[in-house]
């Protein structure tokens, strides 16, 4: 049994068998076998070695030029490895002694060897571990077949373990079976955290070397409350956790009871709670948890995990399904916010050196008007089914907004000519997620119907911190005074222009920050459903007067630590059992 500590990013407990995803999406499906199968597994291992050797021999022969010498050397080394008797012996011994599958034996043996490398201080040598993983992949490819087993065909409950998880990988998660997430990398606002919270499953990140000690099929306990992962727990530990899990579920149930109650402060100020979703089937959960509509419908999933681009009809179907759940409540659809991910980078002639600051999001759309148009048409057509609003992400200047609106108008004209119905008065808003947009909010407010402050990206761009980079993720904070000043400016400009302003970043689901947002004038919050009951509880427990006083004090502070500490204490006083 091994206990690893990481960062808790999504609450809950899960006890399940692990499924490991590496960057090539290979899973090690099974570990144990019946002892009578051992000879078969050893033969499988032998065949895998034979095939891999053949493959490598061909590859090595193909590297002829001088520049390819280095690569040729690498293949030569890998070949030596595959020929090495002691390696094979280690693997077959493992199969024999522990009755495990060939892939488990290969993976466990090679990872152990790799760990000898990574433990060496010399970085040049420690990086050679990558070669061992490469050999492992080559053999696993043989053992697990050409068709990659992917996460979309699960038949039992699993906890996903990976180095990190990308939007492409998580788009395929079936939440009936994926019960928890644990990654080596990541921080509080990494994609893993966001997905876990949306699905309402526990997640722990920044575990550093979890993937090195877990093998596919190992049982893991993911404690998303305390930020702990336990590998191969003993029976006493399992029992304790099952008990603890029960208690936690009861607390959640208690909070769910306020679902029907309105989100009103003690002195009568009404707050609107909307949901953030990624897939249509999350819409129901939003309603269940007390949400009054969708404040952020992320549409990227339609593009990820597919062979071809989604058609207008694919878009329309997804939107129609979501809107049908909400009927007359607002559904804000955000146009695709792709970029800096596999989808856009793989389509580029030359990958961008700095995709985070590159052709992403609305810029990408304005350079791919066919794709943009298909989505806009689908949104417009769906707008007759309910109260639909459009939102453009990452608008950084007036020109971008004008261009996007111009295209929207052109698309509307096309629909007019085709006599296709749509809501001509559809509301159009933008996400404020960059310093430039925040500073220009008063100008931008003249031409939109609402703002939605994306605090995740706003914080990243303002503080120049990559939230997914574990080396600097502690610098990321939505309550940094600089970020707060920008948020305040945006809210004030919105009020002056008499347009709605929402907050839809992860900040909106942090109980400690709710009073701050309310005190700054925010009346609509959009967040992932699991946290809704708790946030509503906080709204119902405070007075706006308290919130205003709190903000006055906070605005006089210059240090993020001071602010964060102050907010934590204030929240603890209001809702002690949640902290």
């Amino acid at each position: 049994m091994e206990i690893k500590k990481g960062i808790a990013v999504s609450p809950g407990i899960s006890i399940a068998r692990s499924l490991i995803i590496d960057s090539e999406d290979y899973r090690i499906p099974r570990r144990s076998i019946n002892p009578s199968q051992r000879m078969i597994e050893i033969q499988r291992a032998r065949n895998a070695f034979k095939d891999a050797i053949k493959e490598l021999t061909q590859l090595e022969a193909g590297q002829e030029s001088k520049e390819q010498r280095k690569i040729k050397d690498i293949f030569a080394v890998h070949l030596r490895f595959l020929h090495d008797r002691s390696l094979r012996k280690k693997i077959t011994d493992l199969v024999h002694l522990e009755s495990v599958t060939a892939e488990y034996a290969v993976s466990a043996t090679l990872r152990e060897i790799a760990s000898h490398f990574t433990n060496v201080k010399d970085t040049y040598i420690s990086e050679r571990a990558a070669d061992i993983y490469d050999i492992e992949r080559r053999l696993l490819r043989r053992l697990l077949g050409q068709k990659r087993e992917d996460v979309e065909h699960l038949t039992e409950e699993v906890a996903i373990v990976a180095r990190e998880l990308s939007p492409t990988q998580t788009a395929g998660f079936d939440k009936r079976y994926v019960k928890g997430l644990a990654t080596d990398a990541g921080g509080r606002t990494s994609h893993t955290a966001i997905v876990a919270r949306s699905l309402g499953i526990p997640a722990v990140v920044a575990l550093e070397d979890l993937t090195e000690i877990v093998s596919g099929g190992d049982t893991v306990i993911i404690d998303g409350n305390r930020g702990i992962v336990i590998v191969n727990p003993d029976s006493e530990t399992v029992r304790q956790y099952e008990e603890y899990s029960q208690e936690f579920a009861e607390l959640e149930h208690k909070l769910d009871a306020i679902r029907e109650k309105p989100a009103v402060t003690r002195d009568g100020v009404r707050i609107t709670l909307l949901g953030n979703i990624e897939f249509p089937d999350e819409a129901e959960l939003v309603l269940q948890k007390g949400g009054e509509g969708i404040g952020l419908y992320r549409t990227e999933f339609l593009y990820l995990n597919r062979e071809s681009e989604p058609t207008e009809q694919d878009h329309y179907r997804a939107y129609a399904e979501t809107i049908s759940v909400f009927k007359h409540r607002p559904v804000i659809i955000r146009t695709v916010d792709l970029g800096a991910d596999k989808y856009t980078q793989s389509k580029r002639f030359a990958p961008e050196p700095n995709p985070f600051l590159g052709l992403r999001s609305i810029r990408f759309c304005l350079q791919n008007l066919m794709m943009f148009k298909a989505q806009l048409r689908a949104v417009l057509r769906a707008s007759v089914l309910g109260e639909v609003k459009i939102m453009f992400p990452l608008i950084t200047n007036v020109a971008e907004l004008m261009q996007a609106k111009m295209i929207l108008r052109d698309v509307m004209e096309d629909l007019d000519e085709e006599s296709i119905a749509y809501n001509k008065d559809i509301q159009v808003g933008i996400m404020i997620e960059t310093p430039s947009a925040a500073l220009m909010a008063s100008t931008l407010a003249r031409d939109v119907d609402f703002f939605s402050i994306g605090t995740n990206d706003l914080t990243q761009y303002t503080l120049a911190v990559d939230r997914g980079n574990e080396l600097v993720s502690t610098l990321y904070s939505s309550v940094d005074p600089a970020v707060l000043r920008l948020i305040r400016t945006v809210v004030q400009d919105a009020h002056k222009a008499q347009i709605d302003v929402h907050v839809c970043g992860e900040m909106a689901s942090e109980p400690e920050y709710i009073m701050l947002l309310l005190g700054m004038g925010v009346r609509t919050i959009s967040l992932a459903s699991p946290m809704m009951p708790e946030v509503k509880q906080i709204v119902r427990s405070v007075t706006m007067e308290d919130c205003n006083n709190l903000v006055r004090k906070v605005l006089g502070m210059n240090s993020e630590r001071q602010i964060a500490g102050f907010l934590r204490n204030a929240a603890r006083r209001i809702l002690p059992e949640a902290f």
Binding site: E309, K347, R348, F349, L366, Q367, N368, L369, M370, M371, K373, N397, V398, A399, L401, M402, Q403, K405, M406, I407, R409, D410, V411, E413, D414, E417, T443, L444, R446, D447
Partner: protein, 165 residues
């Protein structure tokens, strides 16, 4: 979606080089639009006797929503059945024209685009090209500095050649 293989509308595909006005005579928005439409008409791209009708249509659209994108550029456009292909005229004003742009700044470069009625894709591709280049500070600057029609033509051809301006 191959954004480097697909044949996109380049400037040479739709800009009418005979309808380039380096220094517009008109001082206000509506007159500028009329001047540019007239230029396309003189170049024979608008059939016969459609000048006034098209000008009115462009102005009407402009009244509904300004095409002043900010940064001193405007792209008035309209669809009309008289054209079989996308066609554009370019005009510059060194003194600047009020296009009611969102950033409240005057407009120095105007690209007027007339698109065929049944080809929304071509229209979008032309717009995509226009957006891409007008976003570039360098491009806008060179455009404003050009005094002769063939300087502007050269600039556009050069922009077409660069893979990712």
């Amino acid at each position: 979606m191959d954004d480097f293989v697909e044949h996109k509308m380049k400037f040479v595909d739709f800009v009418c080089f005979k309808a380039i006005i380096p220094e517009l005579k008109s001082r206000n928005r509506d007159d500028v639009i009329a001047e540019l439409v007239s230029a396309l008409d003189k170049a024979g791209r608008l059939g016969n006797g459609n000048c006034e009708e098209i000008t009115k249509a462009v102005i009407k659209r402009e009244d509904e929503a300004s095409t002043g994108m900010g940064k001193g550029v405007a792209v008035p456009h309209v669809k009309h059945q008289v054209v079989k292909d996308v066609v554009a005229a370019i005009g510059q004003s060194s003194t600047g024209i009020d296009f009611s742009a969102l950033d409240k700044q005057p407009v120095y470069s105007v690209i007027l685009i007339i698109s065929p009625v049944d080809e929304p894709d071509k229209h979008l591709q032309a717009m995509e090209n226009v957006f891409k280049h007008l976003q570039q500070d360098r491009f806008r600057k060179f455009l404003r500095q050009s005094r002769e029609p063939d300087q502007i033509e050269d600039l556009l051809r050069e922009a077409d050649e660069s893979p990712s301006w």
